[in-house]
């Protein structure tokens, strides 16, 4: 009885198409934004910021990116880790080669470089489809990690092979390096996430989104009704890689500070991002964020519960985490391939008529 759209009639197509047609949803959205921009930055502890919020914002961007490619356009990619590395290393090279470059420009340009690389690795998608493409993206993953490890130019020939982010400021606040302040970093990440999520939402609800989904659902039919498959797929690769690259740049420069490519951008990361969109919901921007929240939040909650409260050793928590994630993936694929986002839609649908059964 609370949650309903009875009485809410749309009188124009414009109103029908908006992102939050139900008023209660819109209010919920505004409240979340308020919480994100005002309440959380004021009240968050350093631990929660570093353990939960910052990774959520950063991986949320990556999840949206992968969802565009895999969830909307149907091109499965297991190379997200490698592309995040491209973003991180581009950022590093830009920061060290152009010390006066504005940090935001750096990050966006890193995304651009990654988009270009994504375009190239997306070329095989014209001949290879579905599961075979997934395997081809593995080639990208392993090759990129090897390349950033071996080719000295990428890490400025440092002895350790690590890349470290020099200190940079934005609007007077230090956001990279050892003296970075958490709250400005939070706002940079949050701002980028909101902006990029908005753009993703716009792209996916318009003609481009329909082209991608047509390719995903039946690419031969899509071609026959006028979609240029080469263009559509490459666009998906490019845009998706842009997002993943931005995420990688943020992960390196604003969060980790120093990165070793084999650890930070391994295939495990590719899987984690994939899991985010499976659990959260393929083909849903909201789902990408829900999935990111789950994959970031669950280990933290588990660790706090088991280790801090029950005193169990840390590795048991890690093993249980693997089991839970694996189980969730299987359960979601069996019960609800469209993830938590679809479950949420179904709950809302039931709420619409609650407390009546039909």
């Amino acid at each position: 009885m609370f949650y309903r759209e009875a009485g809410e009639f749309k009188t124009s197509y414009r109103a029908d198409q908006q992102t939050f047609p139900i008023r209660l949803d819109k209010i919920g959205f505004i409240l979340s934004l308020f919480a994100a921009f005002v309440i959380i930055p004021i009240t968050m502890s350093e631990y929660w910021a570093q353990a939960v919020f910052l990774p959520f914002l950063i991986f949320g961007i990556a999840a949206i990116g992968l969802n565009i490619l895999t969830g909307y356009c149907g091109q499965v990619s297991l190379g997200s880790g490698g592309f995040m590395a491209v973003g991180a290393y581009s950022c590093y090279k830009l920061m060290t080669s152009f010390p006066d470059m504005n940090m935001l420009v750096c990050i966006l340009l890193s995304g651009g470089v990654t988009a270009f690389v994504g375009l190239i690795f997306g070329l095989p998608s014209l001949r290879i489809k579905g599961f075979y493409l997934a395997v081809a993206t593995l080639a990208a993953q392993f090759f990129l990690v090897w390349m950033f490890n071996k080719v000295g130019w990428f890490y400025n020939y440092s002895a350790s092979g690590q890349i470290t982010a020099p200190e940079r400021t934005l609007f007077g606040y230090v956001i990279t390096g050892a003296k970075a302040e958490t709250v400005p970093v939070y706002f940079v990440c949050l701002g980028l996430l909101v902006f990029l999520a908005l753009i993703a939402r716009n792209l996916t609800r318009g003609a481009m989104g329909r082209k991608w989904m047509a390719i995903r659902d039946m690419d031969i039919a899509a071609e026959i009704i006028g979609v240029n498959p080469l263009r559509a797929k490459l666009t998906a690769f490019a845009i998706s890689s842009f997002y993943v690259g931005v995420s990688g740049a943020l992960l390196f420069a604003l969060y980790l500070g120093a990165v070793e490519v084999g650890e930070a951008f391994s295939i495990q990361k590719s899987f984690i991002i994939l899991f985010m969109i499976i659990i959260g919901g393929l083909g849903s921007i909201f789902g990408s964020l829900v999935g990111a929240a789950f994959m970031i939040g669950m280990p933290v909650i588990l660790k706090n519960l088991l280790v801090s409260n029950l005193g169990w050793p840390g590795d048991i928590a890690a093993h249980l985490e693997f089991m839970i994630v694996g189980l969730m993936i299987i359960i979601f694929l069996i019960l609800e391939p469209h993830g938590l986002a679809m479950l949420w839609s179904i709950i809302k649908e039931k709420l619409r008529i609650w407390p009546f059964a039909h």
């Binding site: 075979y132 081809a136 090897w146 029950l310 005193g311 590795d315 093993h319 969730m328 993936i329 299987i330």
Partner: protein, 332 residues
């Protein structure tokens, strides 16, 4: 002939044997893919789990001891007995068969009509689950696997080939373990080929691989076949786990072998047993020769990490079905 040439030949032979090991893992994949259209990403973790279980039985480990100790504050680790290798292998095999049955009952039967990519992702989920489960059950420390296969270089071969190549060449260094692995793998492959071609169950397997509906209509139980296939794949995983585990210890990296099998399959075709073998050999030799000739001297080494994938990628673009796979035809 200069010593360099013989070093090259040695690299080639080692490559062949590495290739055999790859083929062994790839075989498990081909079996499951042929029968159910699923690419079982969990095959690698199955090998790890099988090896862990074997060692666990051999050493008389208590399953989940770590967890039990954490909950109850106890300090138990072993039962105190040791199981003879032969029985440990049998026990591990039984565990893998039970595993196959559970996988079919709890996962596969619910995903029957889904697209291949969904099934693939389900096996990734299974792999993650089994990794956590295996570690929880037997502990995540590295274990030594000893089933009585001799290790170390084979002296007989080394001594008897030293006459080639002059004084800088000391004879072909071929590891005993690798030689045993090659022989065992060859036997396994022949057995599998005979099984699939000449037995009733094997024929049923091939029928299912070809067309689920048609197989159902002649009375073949899909679910039984799947259990059988996964059990066989489990057996292959056990053998692979033993071989690899004996070589480098039973640890997590064993599961990454699954990833190595992928290029083998792309080269050989996902549905072909001879393809898995030849693909494995080509990748094994190719990797080692590339590293020897180009990778180490010119590219700074460690090219084995990605060489196989690049080869597979090239194949995928020009010949998507691999060398021996079935051609993929799309109809409107």
């Amino acid at each position: 002939m200069p010593a360099e040439f013989y070093f090259g030949v040695e690299v080639f032979l080692n490559g062949l044997m590495a290739g055999v090991m790859y083929s062994l893992v790839a075989l498990g994949f081909v079996l499951i893919f042929k029968a159910s259209g699923i690419f079982n990403y969990a095959q690698g973790i199955m090998a790890l789990f099988a090896a862990l279980t074997l060692v666990g039985f051999q050493d008389g480990q208590i399953p989940f001891s770590h967890l039990i100790n954490a909950i109850f504050g106890t300090e138990v680790h072993h039962f105190g007995w040791h199981l003879h290798t032969f029985f440990a292998i049998l026990a591990a095999l039984v565990v893998m068969i039970v595993f196959a049955w559970l996988v079919e009952k709890l996962i596969l039967q619910y995903l029957v009509n889904q697209e291949p990519i969904i099934l693939f992702m389900a096996t990734i989920g299974l792999a993650y689950f089994m990794e956590g489960f295996g570690d929880l059950m037997w502990g995540s420390n590295v274990k030594k696997l000893d089933v009585g296969i001799p290790q170390g270089g084979n002296f007989w071969i080394e001594e008897n080939t030293a006459f080639l190549g002059g004084e800088d060449f000391y004879g072909f260094y071929l590891d005993n373990l690798d030689i045993y692995a090659t022989v065992i793998a060859a036997v396994l492959v022949i057995a599998l080929v005979i099984f699939s071609q000449y037995t009733k169950t094997g024929r049923a397997l091939r029928a299912v691989a070809d067309d689920h509906q048609a197989a159902l209509s002649v009375g073949i139980s899909l679910r039984t076949i799947w259990v059988i296939v996964w059990a066989i794949a489990g057996f292959v995983a056990l053998v692979a786990g033993i071989m690899w585990g004996a070589k480098s210890g039973v640890q997590f990296s064993l599961s990454l072998i699954a990833l190595k099998a992928l290029p083998v399959l792309m080269l050989g075709g996902f549905t072909s047993i001879p393809g898995a073998i030849i693909g494995g050999l080509i990748i094994g030799v190719g990797e080692k020769m590339f590293e020897f000739l180009i990778g180490a001297p010119l590219l700074g080494g460690a090219t084995e990490n990605w060489f196989a994938y690049m080869v597979a990628l090239v194949f995928l673009v020009f010949r998507p079905q691999g060398l021996f796979g079935e051609k993929i035809i799309e109809r409107v």
